[in-house]
């Protein structure tokens, strides 16, 4: 690193050679207002919001395209700068509808925020506003409002530079310039909704989310995407104990600023539908509700009486849960009988930018905890179909609904002497069980996931689990006859026992996670 010393508003700052003024300021905690600049995209320099005064330069300069050089004196608050900023705000708003009350972006709109900070003046514009296309469907998840667009080209650059799918461009000149799809294109690449996140205004909105809830009512919980083992960092945004949306959280070690569409909407499939609220036991005529003690006693005796058992844990269970499940099930399984659910599929080039080829965010952690082997779940599924087991304990995976093996698994599971299914809803698999245990989904859990590349990251509960359900770890602990107050206590035990996790401190994993390798060295 080549240090470069500059001053911003009189404050001395040491930055590195090659950084721009806006980056140097950001590193030092000084916010230079901007729209078109995005740290992950090339510099466009078109919004002109970041104009600053630089000593010895007659004209204002854009901070996003000005390299910090030794001795440079930058002013971000001089009268000239403030006036230019106010002017840019005024320009951006003259043809803007400013219909915030019916705009889904309101509350997280950069125009609103910067207007409050840098303008606050009544508009001097008395002419007829230019009109543009409204509510144009760009793709399955993205809708465009041409009148709210400020032509910052972040969306266009994202699609050129990150996904390289080039669906959007700018057409027309002057104040008729607007964003448009190329003919015959749809904005449907696997990362498409990121354009909504980076659009600073209400021009691109999320069709799944919009108009469901005002953003200021959202409760935001930092967590990890349950979609695959990349482990993208997310904010789970909830309203009235329901997930309204996922938003990516910036983590340069994992997902940078992005989130894939499949992961973004994975909460629908994982959290919606009627919940199980009581354990059940199969009796003549079907499943009947029982209390937890009765159900857990039935599990213990049923497994003991029907060896060998097949044990399948969901790839969405946490490390803490896997650690207990592993110890529990080793009593009842023989070699190859205990696996975490993990299956691969083909990914397209665009998917590969972010996604992993699975839907098991914690398969790696589960294996670390002793659930499963490199052989994977496929031989185990085959052995179930081949009738090699007398019993099974399936956690959180609806095996009977798998698109390829579902029918055969359904019939094989139906023939078992004893089947325990632990899940959140009455799935076709649960319907076959002798004992059904109601548990929790990823959004209700606390604990850790270890992603594909060995980074341990924290899940935080964003939702309250329904009464009657128990956390998976509680169920396993009770079956083991152990007692913990919280997942952190289980983590403390597992980190003492597993060398790879030794030295990791649950509290210190923090919002951005910690690499196993780094801890191991």
């Amino acid at each position: 690193m080549d240090p470069v010393k500059i001053t911003i508003d009189g404050r001395e700052i040491v930055t590195e050679k090659g950084k721009t003024v806006i980056q140097a300021a950001e590193d030092a905690g000084i916010d230079i207002p901007h729209y078109c600049y995005h740290p992950k995209l090339t510099i466009a320099g078109n919004c002109r919001m970041c104009l600053v005064e630089i000593e010895k330069m007659p004209k204002l300069q854009i901070a996003c395209n000005t390299l910090a050089t030794e001795g440079m004196a930058v002013k971000t608050q001089s009268p000239k700068v403030l006036e230019a900023r106010r002017a840019v705000m005024e320009f951006l708003l003259i043809n803007h509808p400013v219909d915030c009350p019916i705009c889904d972006q309101a509350g997280e709109c950069w125009l609103q925020d910067y207007y409050m900070e840098h303008d606050l003046a009544a508009s001097r514009f008395e002419e007829r506003k230019e009109h543009e296309r409204k509510r144009e469907i760009f793709g399955p998840y993205v809708v465009f409002d041409g009148e709210r667009c400020i032509k910052c080209t972040r969306c266009v650059r994202f699609l050129q530079e990150v996904t390289r799918t080039d669906e959007l461009t700018v057409v027309n000149r002057s104040d008729h310039a607007t964003i448009a799809l190329f003919p015959e294109k749809t904005l449907d690449n696997p990362l498409s909704v990121n354009v909504v996140d980076i659009c600073p205004v209400g021009a691109l909105t999320d069709r799944d989310f919009r108009f469901k809830v005002r953003v200021w009512y959202l409760k935001k919980t930092p967590s990890i995407c349950p979609g695959c083992s990349t482990g993208c960092n997310i904010s789970v945004e909830t309203y009235q104990n329901r997930i309204a949306r996922f938003k990516p959280r910036v983590n340069e070690a994992v997902n940078s600023h992005w989130l894939c569409d499949e992961g973004r909407y994975s909460f629908h499939g994982l959290t919606e539908g009627e919940r199980l609220t009581s354990p059940m036991i199969r009796q003549e005529g079907g499943l009947v509700a029982v209390d937890w003690d009765t159900a857990l006693r039935a599990v213990a005796t049923g497994l003991a009486a029907n060896a060998p058992a097949a044990a399948i844990l969901s790839g969405r269970n946490t490390n803490e849960e896997a650690f207990l499940y592993s110890r529990l099930m080793k009593q009842f399984v023989s070699d190859g009988g205990l696996e975490v659910f993990y299956r691969e599929r083909e990914l397209t080039e665009v998917e590969k930018i972010l996604k992993s080829p699975d839907r098991s965010p914690n398969f790696r952690g589960a294996r670390h905890m002793g659930v499963g082997s490199e052989a994977g779940v496929e031989p185990l599924l085959k052995n179930i179909i081949d009738g090699k087991f007398r019993s099974a304990y399936v956690v959180g995976e609806d095996l009977a609904s798998l698109s390829d093996l579902g029918d055969r698994l359904k019939s094989a599971l139906g023939k078992l002497s004893f089947l325990v299914v632990q899940d959140t809803r009455m799935t076709p698999t649960a319907a076959l069980a002798h004992v059904v245990l109601p548990s929790t989904n990823f959004a209700e859990k606390e604990g850790t996931y270890t992603n594909r590349r060995g980074r341990v990251q924290k899940l935080n509960p964003a939702l309250v689990a329904p009464a009657g359900a128990l956390q998976d770890w509680e169920i396993f602990a009770r079956l083991l006859g152990e007692s913990y107050d919280r997942p952190a206590d289980i983590f403390a035990v597992l980190s003492r026992q597993l060398p790879a996790y030794a030295g990791l401190d649950y509290e210190k994993i923090g919002a951005l996670g910690a690499d196993l390798e780094a801890q191991h060295q």
């Binding site: 466009a44 002109r48 320009f91 008395e126």
Partner: protein, 421 residues
């Protein structure tokens, strides 16, 4: 006054290779390839004092010398034949009447920066000009002035004619480069500059048609002869294209430093229809207007125009007599700029049309007190704050018109109608 740029214009068949050679054409190229290294050529052009005729007046030899010699990337010269500024029509004359001078000049410039592929970017609407230039290129290639091993010198150069699609902004050099690359004609942010990161990210020189067309004469006659013409900072001759209310509008070649009033009164035959002069836009539509009383003592060169608060620009002289409504003239210009802003940066994209809308109101009787201050403020907020100089070009004219003809604007607003027509 010696004709340098227009020396061949009246010759029959001036646009053919034969006609051009009969006037001494391509001798400069031979001389360059036989006798001069690129370094010596650049020195010669520097010594001539030639400055860019595209509007900015940047010294041509110096521009070439910014191209890094050790850069392994291809280097390009682009001849800017996009001429689309209202009131500017000098390049078109050269293109249609003396295309080989442009071709020869472009090859010479290419040699100076060691370019082996170069371009002529011609305005889309100049269909005839493009045909003439293409024919000239074909003839030049046939005669061995283009292609491999030009005139046995070992130097290779291809020259490609590219037609634009009709946008004024593609005359701005980086807008031109974006368009030539196949993209939307959006000017690029600087830095980096074209000299190091131009066409396709490679070192590039963009020069105006008139600039390049002056090179053959400078080489054959010598830089010293060229530098002997003109003033201290403005050397040689310049084309001025005169339009508006004069008796003899047209393209004139004038020694730099020629008295402006004399030019209008004698060379251009004075005002048409016996009316009085009201104002002149001296350097193309984007340059600030001068009132009749400001013309005294002005000479036709970079320094004198600048001292008068305007710029030589492209040399497009638009003459307006007393029958002209200055509000309407300002509105007309603002309409052009509102239509031609590329739409990239916020101030220019939004501001140009805003100004147009206010001027439209003022001209059509709906002006209000405060409108003029608003235009001045908006134009001040555009100028200097944009990616390319279009922002200045668009904001100067309305501001200049209001400042210089304030009374007429105020009358329009007070009367609630146009007070001239």
């Amino acid at each position: 006054m010696e004709k340098i740029l227009l020396r061949n214009i009246d010759a029959p068949d001036s646009q053919t290779l034969e006609g051009y050679r009969a006037c001494g054409g391509y001798r400069a190229l031979e001389k360059v390839l036989r006798e001069m290294t690129p370094e010596k050529l650049i020195d010669e052009v520097k010594a001539s004092g030639l400055r860019g005729r595209g509007g900015a007046g940047f010294p041509t030899g110096m521009k070439w010398s910014f191209v890094p010699k050790d850069n392994p990337k291809p280097k390009y010269v682009v001849c800017n034949a996009d001429e689309s500024e209202p009131g500017t029509f000098k390049d078109r004359l050269l293109i249609e009447k003396d295309p080989h001078a442009i071709v020869e000049g472009t090859i010479i410039a290419a040699y100076a920066i060691r370019s082996h592929t170069s371009f002529i970017y011609i305005r889309g609407e100049m269909f005839y000009g493009a045909q003439v230039l293409q024919r000239a290129l074909d003839e030049a290639a046939g005669a061995g002035y283009l292609g491999k091993n030009v005139l046995g010198s070992g130097y290779d150069i291809d020259l490609i004619l590219h037609r634009g699609a009709g946008a004024y902004i593609c005359g701005e050099e980086t807008g031109l480069l974006s368009s030539l690359e196949g993209g939307k004609g959006w000017p690029k942010i600087k830095p980096p500059f074209p000299a190091t990161h131009g066409l396709f990210g490679c070192p590039t020189v963009v020069n105006n048609v008139e600039t390049l067309a002056a090179l053959p004469w400078i080489i054959t006659e010598g830089a010293a002869r060229y530098a002997a013409i003109g003033t201290e900072k403005s050397k040689g001759t310049k084309l001025f294209c005169v339009s508006g209310h004069v008796k003899k509008p047209g393209v004139y070649e004038v020694d730099m430093g020629y008295p402006f009033k004399k030019f209008l009164e004698e060379d251009c035959g004075g005002m048409a229809n016996g009316r009085k002069l009201k104002g002149v836009i001296p350097g193309g539509a984007s340059m600030p207007v001068l009132r009749a009383d400001e013309l005294d003592g002005i000479t036709m060169d970079y320094e004198s125009f600048q001292a008068a608060g305007t710029l030589l620009g492209s040399g497009g002289v638009i003459v307006m007599d007393e029958s002209t409504c200055m509000v309407r003239a300002a509105w007309n210009l603002s309409r052009f700029f509102a239509h031609e802003s590329c739409g990239q940066c916020s101030p220019c994209r939004e501001g140009c049309h805003w100004i147009e809308k206010i001027l439209n109101r003022v001209e059509h009787g709906a002006g209000k007190p405060g409108d003029l201050e608003k235009i001045l403020s908006v134009s001040g907020n555009i100028g200097g704050n944009t990616i390319c100089p279009f922002g200045d070009a668009a904001s100067w004219p309305p501001a200049a018109f209001i400042k210089k003809y304030r009374g007429e604007f105020d009358e329009h607003i007070a009367a609630g109608k146009c007070t001239i027509h």
